[in-house]
């Protein structure tokens, strides 16, 4: 059975990637999961320097999901390279670094520094965090902004460049196309949906940051639809995510058009989820006589409903 896939020159052993911000820097999980067995590990978003993030409470639970406003707390790219990357390398993890910036120059600088570090497999450009006012999302919510940041990073690195798209736009497919035109090697989507929860007794928002990003199974059908829309307009690989909890969810994203997936929130609920997902995928392949998992990518049959209606 072949579960592998290709993103530019990079081969991922399988399509299961730990989602950024939901897996620490990866090293936190090295006793729980064999990091080398994952298709990739997307580490917590990194700026050039350290950041404290928002004041707690930073999360609140909602039906089948959660809101977060962590505010991209992080140790910065230099400490990451010195203090975390060596262990990730030792554990043979395929490291995807999620990079952030408040300016275009910061994205470029962080990308340049990581390109010189040994043990980084790819760069995921976080232009989609809903919890940071300056930079980031402003690139992700404008087509010229997306094009500009992707092409600027493209120029300074040979690593695969994977912009991560926000769902908080009217037409996500147009952003996928802008990213591809600017030289992206793949796209990942979705980041979280901007959302809010209020305590009715105190009239206060439940998050200190007032608003936060919705993730978890609650968002999955919307994320699947967005992957489907993007698949129709780009040729580059798509990394899909949003509420994946079971191997059927992984397969649903792939059939909609994703070449790989990330799992975030459900890793909080079950840190041992990875072997269960892998098992489920293998069973499915066996059941359907599949030898290469990539064969199912984008195979959603949208004519089926039509046919049934005509023949009845």
């Amino acid at each position: 059975m072949d579960l592998s896939l290709q993103i530019a020159q990079l081969t991922l052993a399988n399509p299961l990637i730990a989602a950024s911000g939901c897996f620490g820097y990866g090293v936190e999980y090295s006793d729980v999961v064999d990091l080398a067995s994952l298709g990739g590990v997307a580490v917590k978003g990194l700026f050039l320097t350290e950041r404290e993030g928002h004041a707690p409470p930073r999360i609140v639970e909602t039906p089948s999901g959660m809101l977060n406003a962590i505010g991209l707390q992080g140790i910065g790219v230099h400490r990451f390279i010195a203090e975390r990357l060596p262990e990730l390398r030792e554990r043979r993890a395929t490291v995807i670094v999620n990079i952030c910036g408040t300016t275009l120059d910061e994205y470029v600088e962080v990308a340049r520094i990581l390109s010189d570090a040994e043990g980084v497999a790819a760069l995921e450009l976080n232009i989609s965090c809903p919890n940071i006012k300056e930079g980031g999302i402003t690139f992700g919510c404008s087509l010229p902004g997306t094009h500009a940041v992707v092409s600027a990073v493209r120029k300074v690195t040979r690593l695969p460049v994977i912009p991560k798209l926000t769902p908080n736009v009217t037409d996500v497919a147009s952003f996928a196309r802008a990213a591809e035109e600017a030289g992206a090697d793949a796209i990942s989507l979705v980041n979280t949906f901007l959302a809010m929860a209020i305590d009715v007794d105190t009239h206060r928002p439940k998050l200190t940051n007032i608003v936060g990003g919705l993730s978890g199974p609650a968002i999955r059908p919307i994320a699947v639809r967005m992957v489907y829309e993007c698949r129709r307009v780009v040729k580059i690989p798509i990394i899909g995510m949003g509420g994946i909890a079971t191997s059927d969810d992984v397969l649903e994203f792939m059939i909609a058009g994703a070449n790989a997936v990330q799992v975030g929130t459900m890793n909080f609920v079950d840190p041992f989820i990875w072997t269960k997902l892998m098992e489920g995928i293998r069973c499915y392949m066996e059941r359907h006589g599949l030898t290469r998992l990539q064969e199912i990518v984008g195979t959603v049959d949208t004519t089926a409903g039509q046919k049934a209606w005509i023949s009845s």
Binding site: G21, C22, F23, G24, E28, Y29, D31, V32, K44, E52, G53, A55, P56, P57, R58, I59, V60, E61, P63, S64, G65, M66, N68, I70, Q73, T208, G216, P217, A245, T265, N267, F268, V269, D270, P271, F272
Partner: protein, 277 residues
């Protein structure tokens, strides 16, 4: 770290009041490796609602007749949807329980004495600590405060371990009239510095902050066990942060309670910057 996720059977649900119950699980693998003050993450439903696990201090280590650890219990205060489900759990039900997690208490040895200071649900981590202290022969006192006398629970558990008990209630219905810091401060005042005492504190943030202040005034070592909203318990999400200095000092940084705590040296915590909720 011997972290396991057990699909554990509930073996008993002792209802203490409308607000509290003690829920016991068949979970030997966690019970065997747990250290005092550590916690578990419990999935309160089988489905997606509530979605996230909830953190609970390990309240008791359950043992069979030959003394082997067979399970753990939690001290559950009913505050929301998840804890209410745990209030109603019946023996035989199965729930996922992940642990043991977190930085444990370090029990002191004689001749030092241990003073445990608990407020409300903050009683939870002290049974396991009291057992560890008793095993070392360390003299131990529990200062335990609540709003009303009827909100004080499980005192007999501590008495059976030889722990001295000092109670305080805000309405004066049991023990000293006032906050638990009132008898704590008078005890601290009566001690000469030659008699070493270490404080272990768990309770509402203002109470822990007050105890941290007292420990500084009276020159005593003090550890606090912090309770925060947690997403994962493993350091993955950065939700449970508190402003704390590193072991070597310096300015405070947002520090994860799940893996750097829940037990912190009290002076490491930047109490001024703590948000209590």
């Amino acid at each position: 770290m011997m972290l396991v996720d057990i699909d554990a059977a509930v073996i008993a649900n002792r209802r203490l009041s409308d607000d509290y119950n003690v829920l016991a699980f068949d979970a030997a693998a966690i019970a065997r490796s747990a250290r005092p003050g550590q916690f578990v993450m419990i999935k309160t439903s089988r489905g997606l609602d509530p979605l996230l696990r909830r953190p609970f201090s390990i309240f008791e280590i359950l043992r069979n007749n030959s003394g082997a650890a067979t399970g753990v219990s939690i001290f559950n205060k009913h505050v929301g949807a998840g804890t209410s489900l745990l209030a109603e759990a019946e023996p035989g039900a199965r729930l996922l329980i992940l642990g043991p997690l977190g930085r444990p208490f370090e029990p002191v040895d004689p001749p030092a004495e241990a003073w445990m200071v608990a407020g409300g649900v903050g009683l939870a981590p002290f049974v396991t600590l009291a057992e560890a202290l008793a095993a070392r022969g360390t003299r131990t006192t529990l200062f335990y405060g609540a709003r009303r006398g009827e909100d004080l629970y499980c005192i007999e558990l501590f008495e059976s371990l030889g722990v001295g008990i000092v109670l305080a209630t805000e309405d004066g219905t049991r023990g000293v009239h006032g906050r638990v810091t009132v008898p704590l401060e008078s005890a601290l005042r009566q001690r000469t510095l030659g008699e070493p005492v270490k404080l272990y504190v768990c309770g509402p943030t203002p109470m822990m902050r007050a105890c941290a202040g007292l420990s500084l005034t009276y020159g005593r070592a003090c550890d606090v066990s912090l309770e925060q909203v947690m997403g994962c318990g493993l350091g993955g999400c950065y939700s449970c942060v508190v402003p704390a200095r590193s072991d070597t000092g310096g300015p405070p940084h947002h520090t994860r309670t799940c893996i750097d705590g829940p037990v912190f040296e009290a002076q490491r915590v930047a109490w001024d910057a703590m948000t209590s909720h």
